[in-house]
Subunit: 336 residues, 2 copies
C-alpha cells in the first residue's frame, strides 16, 4: 500500500500508537498543537515542530528568503499561541543544496532572527546539512505556560460559542495569486501575497484568551477553518454549527472575488494558513470573554457558530437551509 | 559566494551571531552537543536536533528502514549522553515522497519506537509532510540533567588526560564496505555494517562520567576523532597531544585493514559516526575516574593522550617523531 492511499491523517493515526510509554511528566503527546510536558510547579513546557520543504510548502521564486525564514518560525510560534503559551527557544535544522548562494542563506537566517527577536525567542541550536536538491527547513520551538491555563483541542462542549480572532481566506487567495490561478490589481495583490508569505503568530492574543480562563478549547488555523474546527470536534467528541454570513472575510477578499469571479467563502472555509486562532467559549462566559478581549486589544472577534452534541460540521446558508461541510484542507499525501 | 566555498563550519560561524538575545534561562546556545536551558532548581533541560537526508546521510538500499529509524533517534540520544544527561521526549518530523510504501514507513517508525522504548523516551509530537523525491528525517530531543554535572566542550584544561570510551573506525569501515570501496568476508562485513547502521548512544556511560564529577569536558564522536577533539580544543582554548599506539582499534578493524591493505588509523582518526564518548579528566582525578568507570561497568576505557596549552592536535608516532594532525572529518558543503 502506498502512502498516497491512506493520506496524511490516516498515516499519522497508524503511527500514533505506542509513542508514549513511560513518562509521568508527559501531559499531552501527539494530537494537539503542541506536546505538553510538566516542568516544575504549575509551569508546563510546550513543544512543537514544523518542517517546510521546497516545492511542497514553498516555491523559491514566490517568497523571499527573509520571508521564508520568518514563516518557518511563525508557524511554530502560532502552535505555541494556540495553547496559550509563551515561546522561549528554537532549534533550527536546514538541509541546503551546496550550490546555493551564501547571501540567500544569510537572508533566510536573518528572517528567522528578526521574528525571533520580535517575540523574544532565542535560537539555541540546530543542524546544518547538505541536500541533494531541495531546501528543507525544520524548526522546533520550546515554550512554556501555566498548567491550569493551557487550552487543548479536546475541551469544547455542546453549547460553546465558536470565536475567530481574524478574517480567513486571504492567505489562500495569496497562494492562488502566486500560482497564477487568479489575478488582482497591484495593491490588492500585495495584500494577499503578504498574508500568505508573512503570517503573524498571535502570541499575545493566545495569551489573553488563555489567561482569561473563559475559553474551553483553542487551535490555530493552519489546515483551513473546516479542517481545524474538525480537529477540535474530533478531539472533543462534539460537532459544530456555523452561520454562513458570520464567517469573517476581509474587504480585500470580497473585492478580488468580485473581480475574479470566485466564491470567497470557499477559500475562507478550506483555504488554510490563515493562522487566526479559533476558540470555543461557554455561553455563560461569552459576554465576559468579548469584554476581556476588547479591553486587551484583541479586537475584533468574530462569533461564527456553536458547538453541538451531534457530530460533524453543518452550516446555515443565507436562505435558511442547512449544508453539511467536509474538510477540504491540505492533506500532504492524498491524491487530488 | 556559494555555500561550498566556505564549508559547513564557516557557514555555522557566520550565522551564530545574534542568535541569543533575551533569555536569562539560556545557559548554553549554539556550539555544544546540546543547548542548555535552566528549568527549575538545579535541573537543566538539554535540547538537541539532527537532520538525516536521503542520499546525503544514508542510501536507501544500504540500511533497513528499521535501522534508519533507530539511527535517527540514536544520534540525538548520543548528543544528550555527551552532556551527561538523560533523554526524555522526542519530536519527529519526516518528509516523505508520496509513492513510498506504508510498510517501509511503519518499519521506520517501528525502529524509532523500539530505541525510544529501550531508553524510556516518549515520542510526543512531530510533523509529517510530503517530499518531492528524498526522504528527510529530523529528530529533536529534550532531556534533562543536574546543572552542576553538565559537561561542556569548553571545560578541558592543560594537563587533562584524554579518554575514549570505545574503539574508533568501525563505523567508517562499515560505510566503505557499503559503498563497495573495501570488501570483507561475511561475518566481518556484518560487524562493520552493524557498527555503521546501528550506533548505540552511550547514555549510561555519559551519566556515569557526569555523576562522577571527575571530568572537565565531554563530546560524542560524530564527525571523527580529530574533528571532535578539535571542537573540544577550540571551545576550551587548548591543544592536544595523542599517542599513536594508544588509539583503540577493534581487532576486526585491524584484521580487515590487513586483508584490504589500508591504514586502519586513518579511519580511526577521521572516520566519524563512532558515537563513542571522549572525555577529558584532570591528572589528579585520573585514577579515581578509571576506578569509578570500572566499578560501574563502563569499561574498557582508553587513555589516548593529554590536553596541552599549545593549540592544535599533534600525535607521537611509533618512531618517536611528532606529526601535526588536521581534521579530515565530514564537512557537508566543502568540495572534496
Amino acid at each position: 500500500m502506498k502512502l498516497s492511499d491512506i493520506g496524511e491523517f490516516g498515516f499519522i493515526e497508524s503511527i500514533r500508537k505506542d509513542c508514549l510509554t513511560t513518562l509521568d511528566e508527559v501531559i499531552k503527546g501527539i494530537g494537539d498543537d503542541c506536546a505538553v510536558f510538566r516542568s516544575s510547579g504549575d509551569r508546563v513546557l510546550l513543544l512543537t515542530t514544523d518542517m517546510l520543504v521546497e516545492d511542497i510548502h514553498f516555491v523559491r521564486d514566490t517568497i523571499t528568503p527573509h520571508q521564508l525564514g520568518g514563516k518557518a518560525i511563525a508557524v511554530n510560534l502560532s502552535d505555541i499561541a494556540a495553547m496559550g503559551g509563551r515561546p522561549l527557544v528554537a532549534l533550527i535544522s536546514v538541509a541546503i543544496p551546496a550550490e546555493r548562494e551564501i547571501e540567500e542563506l544569510q537572508e533566510l537566517y536573518r528572517g528567522m532572527k528578526d521574528i525571533c527577536g520580535r517575540y523574544r525567542v532565542d535560537i539555541v541550536g540546530g543542524d546544518t546539512v547538505a541536500s541533494p536538491d531541495k531546501l528543507v527547513i525544520n524548526v522546533s520551538v520550546v515554550g512554556d505556560a501555566n498548567e491550569g491555563q493551557v487550552l487543548y483541542r479536546s475541551g469544547a462542549r455542546p453549547g460553546d460559542k465558536i470565536y475567530l480572532t481574524g478574517t480567513v481566506g486571504d492567505s489562500s487567495a495569496g497562494l492562488r495569486i502566486l500560482r497564477g490561478k487568479i489575478s488582482a490589481p497591484g495593491p490588492l495583490r500585495d495584500h494577499f501575497i503578504k498574508a500568505h508569505n508573512e503570517p503573524q503568530p498571535l502570541i499575545e492574543t493566545g495569551g489573553i484568551i488563555a489567561q482569561s480562563r473563559l475559553a474551553t478549547a483553542m487551535i490555530d488555523l493552519s489546515d483551513g477553518l473546516i479542517s481545524d474546527l474538525g480537529h477540535i470536534c474530533e478531539e472533543s467528541g462534539v460537532g459544530a454549527f456555523l452561520f454562513r454570513d458570520r464567517i469573517p472575510l476581509s474587504s480585500e477578499l470580497e473585492k478580488v472575488a468580485g473581480y475574479a469571479g470566485f466564491n470567497p467563502l470557499e477559500l475562507a472555509l478550506s483555504g488554510g494558513e490563515d493562522y487566526a486562532l479559533l476558540a470555543t467559549v461557554p455561553e455563560k462566559n461569552a459576554k465576559k470573554f468579548e469584554q476581556v478581549c476588547k479591553e486587551n486589544g484583541s479586537w475584533p472577534l468574530f462569533l461564527i457558530g456553536d458547538i453541538q452534541e451531534e457530530g460533524g460540521i453543518r452550516m446555515m446558508t443565507a436562505d435558511g437551509s442547512v449544508e453539511k461541510l467536509r474538510p477540504k484542507g491540505f492533506d500532504h499525501f492524498s491524491q487530488p
